[in-house]
């Protein structure tokens, strides 16, 4: 009985953590946008703009094409739910971790969202949808092995596949060759997985450049708000994961998150989006770094 009580408390804490991250997530995206604007000598919109956007979309009608079925309506919700549940799994933030899974479960829970979004892209019977889905699974095919290697590299260092066991100790300065290489490589994966420049451009709706935005082109109203919010949460989650698992310096978590956020903005300002078929080379670079890190430990 006590065990059950304990599990329940853990659950409440974890879901509370997920909720907190969900509320912060648009702010992080806002900060990235503001930084980019500053680097480009623009004033830019307010850092709270993303909240206004979500609020706006929330009240707008949802336009459904007559060809769509239940998948089209369900997919954004599943994407949102699975991202939220994945956020609840992040370790050592506010709460103890609930024991429904380790890092592989974390990775594959996000695959649920990806599966549903990619499938739903074909539901509205447009050319753009299929294009987005096709490119999404192409990028994913190259991201996944690199993620596996980054997990392997971390596990060799920490000795656990449990997310709370994988975090670096608070006072740990892991400036070994392997540590630094893994850190850089995971940052590259972070950009690719969250559809940022140089892999994808989150701001354009030009059919030749877009990947993630292409999949969501047919969505409107609440469903679009859910997708955007989940994407923002996913970015924050990856930044937090990066800070907890791979950032090799001994500084407070909030500072790590802010540094990573600004780093995303810097990379986005200094680079162009690369050609779609160069993405594999970009990710192969990350993979080679990780392979070195795995062998070097």
């Amino acid at each position: 009985m006590i065990d059950l009580m304990q599990a329940f408390t853990d659950l409440v804490y974890c879901l509370g953590q997920a909720l907190a991250l969900l509320l912060i997530a648009p702010l992080i995206t806002g900060i990235v946008k503001k930084c980019k604007a500053a680097f480009q000598n623009r004033v830019g919109s307010s850092i709270f703009q993303e909240y206004y956007d979500i609020y706006k979309w929330w009240r707008k009608p949802v336009i459904l094409s007559p060809y769509t079925g239940i998948i089209f309506k369900v997919a954004p919700c599943i994407y949102f739910i699975t991202t939220l549940v994945a956020a609840a799994m992040l370790p050592n933030m506010f709460a103890k971790q609930i024991g429904f899974g380790d890092v592989f479960v974390f990775v594959y829970i996000m695959a649920i969202g990806r599966f549903f979004m990619a499938v739903s892209s074909m539901d509205a019977a447009t050319a753009f949808g299929g294009m987005g889905g096709s490119r999404e699974v192409y990028i994913a095919a190259f991201v996944e092995p690199v993620i596996m290697l980054s997990i392997l590299s971390n596990v060799i260092h920490t000795g656990s596949t449990n997310l709370s066991g994988m975090t670096l100790r608070p006072d740990e300065v892991n400036l070994t060759v392997a540590g630094v290489l893994t850190c850089i490589a995971f940052f590259l994966v972070l950009l690719a997985e969250n559809s940022r420049i140089p892999v994808d451009n989150p701001d354009t709706h030009l059919e030749l450049t877009m990947i993630h935005e292409c999949m969501t082109l047919e969505y409107s109203g609440r469903l679009l708000a859910l997708i955007h919010w989940a994407s923002q949460l996913k970015l924050l989650m990856f930044i937090v994961l990066f800070s907890l698992l791979y950032f090799p310096l001994n500084i407070p978590l909030v500072l790590k998150v802010l540094i990573a956020t600004v780093a995303v903005a810097v990379v986005e300002t200094m680079n162009n989006k690369m050609r779609l078929f160069k993405v594999r080379i970009y990710l192969a670079a990350a993979g080679v770094m990780l392979l070195l890190a795995v062998v070097a430990q």
């Binding site: 990619a118 096709s134 092995p145 596949t161």
Partner: protein, 655 residues
């Protein structure tokens, strides 16, 4: 043990329906499939009885021939029983489409196929094993060749026959070597053999080649994507779901009992062969437009994952020792069971699509979810499982396999182990993501969007037998995914591990890592309920035709199946080497009024680079040998005399 013999009687009744008069072919069909259903139910019950009983090795003997059941074979018997029960139920409906088309052959061969698989698993000595193994091969050959009037089917069937005979040759050598070193062919005596390490190596090589060929590992897989699409759907379901697993059974039998001291390089070979098969299999699966070939290549992939996990276990035992290797063996077995039920489901739903539309070309489908809702739901569940999505059974085996690889990486700090693990994990990472893409494409193109052709627009749902068989296996796929604990116990028993080794507190457990599907389901349900309450779109929905830049959208504007896999095809074109061709059908003017035709061929790389040169060499050398065969009797008498002279001289010299 007696129950298995009753089951065999049921199957033999099914086989005998071949002798029904032609006017009673429908009755023969129902009788044979019901017999198969009852027989398979008996096999399942008998295996259950074995588990409920003392778990002692049970056997029957007739002279040197014997039947036996033990922990390792009982797991596969259970798998066979369940899968053939479901597919026989399906066959009751699906077989009707072969009315007037040798329906009685289909029914009797079907029974022969199942009974041979059951008895391969029950065989207690080398001779009966090989005997039933060959009956299995011949029965499945006849089933693949059912529509022999189609040229491609005929080719596929004969290619399968040649390949499987080759495999049996290797197996015979393996059995003969082990038999020679133990003076008996009974499995019990063969386990106490006196093989030297040198000869054990040869046993490994021949056994691995023989079983890998049946399991469809690259580069011995080429028969598989030909034979599976050619066979009727319920046959491909059973071939893919069960027959490939029997190869794993045989391989495990050799590895665990006959040559239990493994070398490092055996383990590395098995693991890498598995990982490469997984990668290449799924790569080709994503390229195919024939729904059954997609599934066939996906079987190559999954058998690859199973053998990679098995090899990882072997490597763990060689390098780390102790009981660590059991985790990877458990992964291989669990995935074998799970793949069996999900592939049975997917082949049955592919059969349902073919039944409803009359085609198996993905490019012609679209919007089938509106006309075949039950098939759509079942295919969706199967797609999720094959994409290894959590909460379906496909993920559990994958999770255990990944734990096995992590354990291997941590077991030693030697660079070669690290590198091997890293390569295997890279390949499995590719496999996981490409499988996801493959089944997004499979489901999305076939069931969503708009109809790409007339046949999709007039598709119809299948009958009750087929739908109930598909629903049952969908439920099984989900149940095995959400509550894998009983299955894990069976797996642990099969490999001789402690039943509590992989499970604790209703979760899968290894070291400090846990995966609890039930808890995950609960959390997803809670969060999902809250999101549903807040984000319900009911009051906000507006129906409007898809915006298409001001023009009317047409079905042809959707991405095609070939188009969907284009980025991946291009990224891997150094492996796939697609042959593209663009030609003009009409070209009135250089810039407009042109009509183009694109052709894309994706011949299997292994078949083109490895088999075709060998085949060419055989054709050339047999043309040379033909000169010896002049057809004249005097010449042959001359050959006989020449041979005798040589033998006589040789005999004299040796003496």
């Amino acid at each position: 043990m007696e129950l298995f013999l009753y089951a065999a009687c049921c199957y033999l009744v099914g086989v005998s329906t071949f002798f029904f008069p032609r006017i009673y072919q429908v009755e023969a069909h129902y009788l044979s499939n019901t017999a198969a259903l009852i027989g398979s139910a008996l096999v399942t019950i008998a295996t259950g009885g074995y588990y409920a009983g003392s778990l002692a090795t049970d056997s029957l003997k007739w002279g040197t021939y014997s039947l036996a059941i033990d922990g390792w074979s009982s797991f596969f018997l259970l798998l066979t029983g369940i899968a053939s029960m479901i597919t026989s139920l399906y066959a009751l409906g699906y077989g009707r489409s072969y009315e007037g088309n040798r329906l009685r052959n289909l029914g009797s061969n079907w029974n022969l196929f199942i009974v041979s698989m059951v008895f391969v698993l029950l065989a207690g000595d080398g001779f009966s094993f090989l005997l039933f193994w060959e009956i299995m091969a011949v029965a499945s050959f006849m089933l693949v060749n059912h529509e022999a009037y189609i040229r491609t089917t005929w080719n596929a069937a004969y290619q399968y026959l040649v390949m499987t005979s080759l495999g049996t040759t290797f197996l015979m050598i393996a059995f003969l070597i082990v038999g020679a070193y133990s003076d008996s062919y009974s499995f019990v005596d063969m386990a106490h053999n006196s093989l030297t390490p040198q000869m054990a190596q040869w046993v490994f090589v021949t056994a691995f080649l023989g079983f890998a060929l049946k399991a469809g590992l690259v580069p011995l897989h080429i028969w598989l994507p030909q034979a599976h699409p050619a066979a009727p759907s319920h046959v491909s379901a059973l071939m893919s779901g069960v027959m490939l697993k029997i190869a794993l059974y045989g391989f495990g039998r050799f590895m665990f009992s006959f040559i239990p001291t493994w070398s490092y390089w055996w383990a590395a070979v098995v693991m890498l062969a598995g990982a490469f098969s997984a990668f290449l299999g799924v790569l080709y699966a994503q390229m195919e437009s024939d729904i059954k070939r997609v599934l066939a290549y996906s079987s190559v992939e999954n058998m690859g994952v199973i053998f990679a996990a098995f090899g990882c276990g072997m490597l763990l035992k060689v390098t780390a020792g102790g009981h660590w290797y059991l985790i990877a063996m458990a992964a291989a077995l669990l995935h074998a069971f799970n793949h069996s039920i999900m592939k049975v489901l997917m082949f049955m739903s592919a059969g349902s699509i073919m039944h409803g539309t009359g085609s198996k070309n993905l490019e012609l489908f679209g919007g089938l979810a509106r006309r075949m809702p039950v098939t759509a739901v079942c295919t969706f569940i199967g797609s999720l499982a094959l994409a290894a999505i959590p909460l379906t059974c496909g993920f559990n085996g994958e999770w255990l396999a990944l734990q096995g690889f992590i354990t291997l990486a941590r077991s030693s700090s030697a660079h070669d182990i690290r590198l091997l693990t890293a390569i295997a994990m890279i390949l499995l990472g590719f496999t996981g993501a490409l499988a996801l893409g493959c089944f997004v494409r499979y489901f999305g193109i076939a069931f969503l969007g708009r109809e790409r052709s007339e046949i999709a627009a007039h598709a119809h749902e299948s009958d009750k037998f087929m739908l109930s068989a598909m629903s049952i296996s969908s439920v099984l796929v989900m149940a095995a995914g959400i509550y894998p604990m009983p299955l894990m116990d069976l797996v642990a028993q099969a490999i001789g591990a402690n039943t509590r080794m992989f499970t604790a507190n209703q979760a899968m457990w290894w070291g400090t890592s846990a995966y609890s599907p039930i808890l995950l389901l609960v959390v997803l349900a809670i969060v999902g309920g809250v999101v549903y309450l807040f984000a319900s779109t009911a009051k906000y929905e507006v129906k409007e035709v898809t915006w298409n830049c001001g023009t009317d959208p047409t079905a042809r504007q959707q991405y095609s199946a070939i188009g969907f896999s284009k980025p991946v095809r291009r990224a891997f074109d150094y492996i796939l080497q697609p042959v593209r061709q663009r030609s003009y059908i009409r070209k009135d003017h250089a810039y407009f009024g042109r009509q183009l035709e694109y052709k894309l061929e994706l011949p299997d790389m292994i078949s083109r680079k490895l088999y075709q040169p060998v085949q060419k060499y055989f054709v050339v050398s047999s043309a040379f040998l033909r000169r010896l065969q002049q057809g004249s009797v005097r010449l042959y008498v001359g050959y006989v005399m020449a041979a005798m002279t040589v033998v006589l001289i040789w005999g004299a010299v040796i003496k």
